[in-house]
Symmetry: C2
Subunit: 448 residues, 2 copies
């Protein structure tokens, strides 16, 4: 196989119709940002829009801006725009609260529906390597409602869908491995087993094609601050299939979810449809920043939208894998993310196998590829952490995920092929030089 050259990468950038979209972002000079899956970067237009919300809408409009600036309608308006990226319909999504809180709402709703349609089923089934906050929320809800959270490995999911399972709760793209589930197949399996399917789209909304209606999914939630570029702590979102929307109260039944919030009546009457998923007053400044983030995705529509973004995302992650093999193939790294496009999100994760492991980057083994949470399998967690820190010091920002994962996110809106080349070259230099062993790259608290 011919080696890939920097020239090849530059040629691909020159031919990339999405290339001009990077100018929508205010990326710091000298930084290659491979962490948009944790916090999307700042769109250039956001600062002025937020300033307008602060100085004009709040400062001058004051309380009147709830009507005059449309603040009150924002969760639905932003939700409609999100719907377009996840295969949902207008009026089916609201932007609100946090991912964890929205999961509580939908999981509670799913358990209520299951209690009506399939009484006796009291198990929530999920994947052991799911993002922890999803597991925590499910644990708390199960504790509250006397249900059981059953955790299995990904490949054990179909067999675990037995007659006790009320709800299958999964994250579409795994935060640590980058592996993507087949949403349609698993939803079908859940339905055939008599269970409902709840999907967390935190690492897939805006990153990969999502077709909630086509997959016949029941509930979904997701994040505003990753691939939607909505800013730190941007509002999350929640979707409910219309067939379920009016079958229950969600438990966080605040006034924004009331049918007539300004009638100030003492009796709760849930709003029709997705409106009942709102609870309290939403953070306006965060919401306008999220709307600016969606602008950046929508700018891709003339170039093909998600189809084009997905094609470039796969090209970027393919290139990264190939270049890591070419440049760092004997450095003791292992590919954790699937090579199969159908199973890959928009990130590539490597685990560090230790200084004496000399095998090449290898494809994902058939099972058990993701190290168990909280159990550094090989004792080289410190190495993975330090390598990420050394890369950050060189301007290549990825992140570390316990126990031993180097995680790199690839967002086609602002990353190019030359960026991938440079990132791998920096990784190679970090490994060649051994500089990651320097004390300043040692562990302190890691934060997303």
């Amino acid at each position: 196989m011919t080696a890939i050259s920097l020239h090849d990468c530059r040629s691909r950038d020159a031919a990339d119709p999405l290339r001009p979209l990077r100018d929508l972002f205010a990326l710091p000079p000298g930084v290659i940002y491979l962490d948009g899956n944790s916090l999307g970067p700042l769109p250039r237009a956001t600062a002025a829009r937020v300033a307008r919300a602060v100085e004009q809408e709040w400062g001058q409009g004051l309380i009147r801006s709830w009507n005059d600036a449309g603040w009150f309608e924002m969760p639905g308006r932003v939700g409609d725009r999100i719907a377009a990226w996840i295969g949902a319909g207008a009026g089916e999504v609201v932007a609100t609260d946090t991912t964890s809180i929205n999961l509580y709402k939908v999981l509670s709703a799913a358990l209520q529906i299951a209690a009506q349609d399939a009484p006796g089923r009291r198990v929530v089934l999920s994947e052991r390597s799911n993002f922890p906050t999803d597991l925590y929320i499910a644990q708390a809800l199960c504790r509250q409602q006397g249900c059981t959270l059953r955790l299995v490995e990904a490949q054990e999911l179909p067999a675990a869908l037995d007659g006790e399972v009320a709800v299958l709760m999964l994250t579409h793209v795994n935060y640590r491995s980058g592996a993507m589930h087949d949403m349609a197949a698993l939803t079908r399996a859940a339905h055939e087993a008599g269970a409902l399917a709840v999907w967390d789209l935190a690492h897939s909304a805006g990153a990969v094609p999502v077709h909630l209606h086509d997959a016949q999914a029941d509930f979904a939630i997701g994040c505003g601050y990753k691939y939607f570029n909505g800013g730190p702590g941007a509002p999350a979102f929640v979707w409910v299939h219309p067939r379920h929307a009016e079958r229950f109260w969600q438990p966080l039944a605040g006034w924004w979810g009331h049918d007539a919030p300004f009638a100030f009546t003492p009796e709760y009457v849930p709003a029709p449809g997705i409106g009942r998923y709102l609870c309290g007053t939403q953070p306006v400044l965060a919401m306008v920043a999220l709307a600016c983030g969606l602008d950046t995705l929508e700018a891709s529509l003339p170039h093909g939208g998600m189809r084009a973004l997905r094609a470039k995302s796969l090209a970027l992650t393919d290139l990264f894998i190939a270049l890591v093999e070419q440049r760092c193939g004997d450095a003791g790294l292992r590919l954790v993310t699937p090579r199969d496009h159908a199973q890959r999100g928009s990130q590539v994760c490597l685990s560090y196998q230790g200084p004496h492991a000399r095998h090449c980057v290898s494809s994902l083994p058939p099972e058990g590829a993701v190290p168990a949470l909280g159990q550094p399998g090989d004792g080289h967690a410190e190495g993975a952490y330090a390598m990420v820190q050394a890369l950050i010091a060189r301007g290549v920002v990825g992140d570390y995920r316990a126990p031993d994962i180097l995680r790199f996110g690839f967002t086609p809106l602002y990353l190019g092929f030359e960026d991938v080349w440079k990132a791998v070259e920096q990784l190679g230099q970090v490994l060649d030089s051994g500089e990651w062993r320097r004390p300043e790259f040692g562990r302190r608290q890691a934060v997303t």
Copy 2:
């Protein structure tokens, strides 16, 4: 009694040591803002601080700002500053989520504790005229947990504290009447009856003295966007008495409330103390604006802090009542807010009794002064609504609350005595001219 003159009001402003604090706010010219109890106005320093969070911390610092800019610590740091205004200790408050969501957390916790300490008690007792979202949250939680929400009038509360009551849930200052409960006395009555006391401080935190520890309160929540001037949809806050803090899981058990959120372990282990009341990622832009709002309150500390603010607040509301009597005494308005300082928040509410009522503004009758929610008692709700609209058109921003309330909030940080004079003069002109009957002041959706 000698009539109060504009000159008197100007003299009081000239002698007011808090007067310079109004320069901390970017109030629009020509506006007298009597709605800070709904949305506090913009502090001058907020725009630059939010811009720095957007452009520097997010734009340049990117993901690193969770550590380097202290984003991750903000809920606790801001919470400590809030604690100082509500009689709580450092480390006992977090700023997070919304008031409604925080109420769900504490009410759920209170019911858990009651189930341990006083099994069999299954009633949540509240006031019928409590802010509706509090009632809605309580209804949903009661529905979920098989409890009962019992609603009575304020004066019936002590008698209603029987052996079935698990939790007394009240809002300290009523949003519609401005009446303030005696927190210490009602908490004592609850405890003597074997119940816990949950306080909503939405209309009192930053507005009136609050002494949670002195009152031996059990739980409290409140709002960031009213008297804390934190901006539209600012994060709310939550406090738990340390004696209860570690006795339960709150149900919204997300990763930010985990003992070690970045260990990514699959088992939920609640953080010690108030930390377990966090759930998901917080809106950073909203949180930095809230911190700027707290700066404006803290600027009063050299002048006496809450003691001085409360004295001026009472002087402003006393003046407003006296001037309404002097200028509009025969216009068919009735005073809804108590004249007794010990029972008054930082707002004055009037109800419109109709064009044929010619009695003067009168003191609050001994009971039943607050019209029942959703039941315009006298058919003049449209008048109250239109009068508020006509006042807004004249630059005096108060608000309408169903069914027939004109509500005026008085924030001593930025309002002066001349402002009160001018506001009442405008009200008098609206009433004298009858201009509020013009079609453009007719009802459309009212929004807080």
